[in-house]
Amino acid sequence: MAKKMHKVNVVTVGVGWTGGIVAAELTKAGFTVVGLERGPEKTRKDYMHTHDEIKYDLRGEIEHNLTKDTFTVRNTLKEDAVPIRDKSNSRIGTGNGGGGSHWGAQTHRYYPYDFEIKTKTIEKYGKNKIPKNMTIQDWGITYDELEPYYDKFEKMAGISGEPDPNYPDRSNPYPNPPLKKAEGMRMFHEVTKKLGYKPFTIPAGTVSQKYTNPDGETLNACQYCAFCGYNACEYGAKADPVVTVIPTAQKTGKFEIRNHAEVRRVLYKGKKATGVIYKDTRTGEEFEQPADLVVLTSYVFSNVRLLLLSEIGKVYDPVSGKGVIGKNFTDHHLVSGVRGYFKNKKFNNYAATGAFGEAITDFTGDLFDHTDLDFIHGGQIELRITGDTPISSNFVPSGTPSWGKEFKKQSLYYFNRNLMLFSQKAVMPFKEHYLDLDPTYKDDWGDPLLRITWDYSDNDKRIHEFINGKCKEIMTEMGADIVDENPMPGHYTGYLAFQHNGGGAIMGANPEISAVNNYLQMWEMDNLFVCGASAFPHFGVTNPTTTVGALTYRATEGMIKYLKDGGGQLVQVEKEAQLI
């Protein structure tokens, strides 16, 4: 029998970005919150000595071990899935802060087009523009409705940036000025401007100056130390739940984090969640945590797996397209772009921040005409300086051997003589791309693992080709002597590089086609909220967390209203349902 704990107002599953935001907002509003976190405690004291490529970049020291569980992957419905076994292929957060302790902190917003993608695409190009199996749908919210919450996330995280000229007007400027520009960024800026595009410095949560956020948490100025993306920041200069929302929640005295607490089931009676069951990962002892409100904040995979294991919501069927849990899964890890080699110019490639660069968004969304193009949406192009580390950065012009004398010579020569154009692209959902439970592989407790069925689509391949063409043009114009393209891989192999997955418990305007409403509240269970990119009906061009954060801030308003008003659905189902 599980040991029963004292009832609280809110229990969150996981204490990363979304869990931290929920804890901060709900405790500030006077409610008690318990955060159950499968991983260890983390504080800034654990962040010293992180300038270590082996320990952090390659071995993923502060990331989730696959010892107890993992994911299985297949490309099509007909195949058996196999597990991702090697930890280095699954870079997913654990412990206080979750992925937010070792993120790159690139923080764009999504576009108005993203939230109304189906309506706007049909409006402009007609129904036939959308391929038969592409399951895009509107998000049940507009950009304008979400804008104040983007602003709130950006202020909490001290985002440093300048407006993207292609975005609608902002209600407020970024809270901090943009990061400094390195030589490569200046070159990109000049060339793209000349080509008629609209360059701007990438907005980032690695803050450009000392900053105190509205909750009173202080971030220090970024040192451009480059051990950023897979590393926690030694200086307290990167927005991270551990230095922002978690201390905000803790200082209310109403927030308790329980570490080594892995949630296995959401408990419910009829249509009401009553709490969760979790295990102490060290002893296997089982506990029940009762709560008025259960909030899943455990990242896409755990969010969806917990719904499936708890048998909440209609399971998605990839053959009929009916059901919602598991639907519209997307993977956003494929990076297009080019690398340019400069015979006679050296760059300080060792210096950077997690998301250091200059970008253009002229080929994203519907900002360019798709009439004669056989894909929808697009990609962002950025000159990105990642802070090249010596083991992972051995770039050589194509045709060079990958080891031996010539390799050594060229890899040494070009280490500081190359620049990269990097493109993240929007990923559209398809009927047969989804998440469910694996029939074979289990975790340490005997529960089935989550199974990913996904592959690259023609839409992905066509954006890749289109964007690489633009990248080549820009890099050549920047003066590179040799320009090599990132190849398009044949199939998806299940490399989860930086927590860029979406879908599985998507939001929308009605329960036929979505799992949660625009407050991330389950249609089927009023006191269960599911926060994270699991709510994304498709993946926009850029990184997810700004949009995840904005949606979660908005969801907390819904949670507070729910607790104060004594329950109920926060959103009325749209009568004119947009059915697929």
Binding site: M48, E53, I54, C222, C225, K251, N348, I391
Partner: protein
């Protein structure tokens, strides 16, 4: 944050600030000290690199950490060393894998949790070519196969062959031509190549990248605390490398 935690975090910030000051840099990005040279712990002495397949001990100090943790047969270690040197040979740019102590690095890593796949998912069944072997087992099998192939093709163990012959055998492994049990030779080769580069360029704390010579060849500054003062520079700024032992 409680007052207690606030104090703690201020202490942490203070210690980082002192560090940056000691390194000749400040938090605000103002340059206090010189960028090139002058940083604490920088070490401009280079070791004379060696071409033999046997790692040579430095003259000045005895390296007590240079012995075998993982391997039990010295011949396996020597064959590994010869293979790493083919992948990253000594040349006019500087030392190769052996002089940089990549074989010792690999030995230590194979003895670590990584070598036993402790953090990986290891539950059966292993299907579709997924290997049930751990990294240590793959290395041992691959290395002994290198010797076997040497005997078969050139009647000598791999470590005794001429460089051109060694390269020929490694190419066979790389292209997956050689048959191994429960793993492909291409997979073994990819691990060997990656581990060699790790041993050449890791922080010296791991037993490779001797004297930070790998970093020096690459003009990589290592574990610096701040680049706030070089980030906007139009020109390349060469900085003497610093290792994690300087952060201690």
């Amino acid at each position: 944050m409680s007052d207690e935690e606030k104090k703690e975090s201020d202490k942490v910030d203070q210690s980082r600030r002192n560090f940056i000051k000691n390194s000749g840099l400040t938090i605000g990005g103002l340059v206090l000290g010189g960028v090139a040279g002058g940083l604490i712990g920088s070490n401009s002495a280079t070791t004379k690199s060696q071409t033999t397949t046997k790692p040579v001990k430095s003259h000045e100090t005895k390296e007590f950490t240079e012995a075998m943790q993982f391997f039990s047969r010295k011949e396996d270690f020597d064959t590994l060393a010869a293979a790493t040197e083919c992948i990253f040979p000594e040349d006019e740019n500087g030392p190769g894998a052996i002089a940089l102590r990549a074989p010792y690095y690999i030995d230590k890593q194979l003895a670590s949790p990584w070598g036993r796949n402790v953090n990986d998912y290891r539950k059966r069944p292993f299907k579709d070519g997924q290997t049930p072997l751990n990294r240590g087992e793959i290395f041992l099998q691959g290395i002994r196969k290198l010797d076997e192939e040497g005997e078969k093709k050139f009647q000598k163990s791999f470590r005794e062959l001429e460089e051109a012959e060694q390269i020929e055998i490694l190419q066979d492994f790389e292209s997956g031509k050689v048959k191994l049990e429960y793993v492909t030779s291409a997979e073994f080769f990819a691990m060997l190549r990656q581990s060699t580069l790790e041993g050449v360029y890791c922080d010296p704390l791991y037993g490779g990248n001797k004297n930070m010579d790998g970093w020096k060849m690459k003009e990589y500054p290592g574990a610096q605390m701040s680049y706030a003062n070089v980030i906007e520079s139009k020109e390349f700024v060469k900085i003497e490398p610093m290792s994690l032992s300087d952060h201690f």
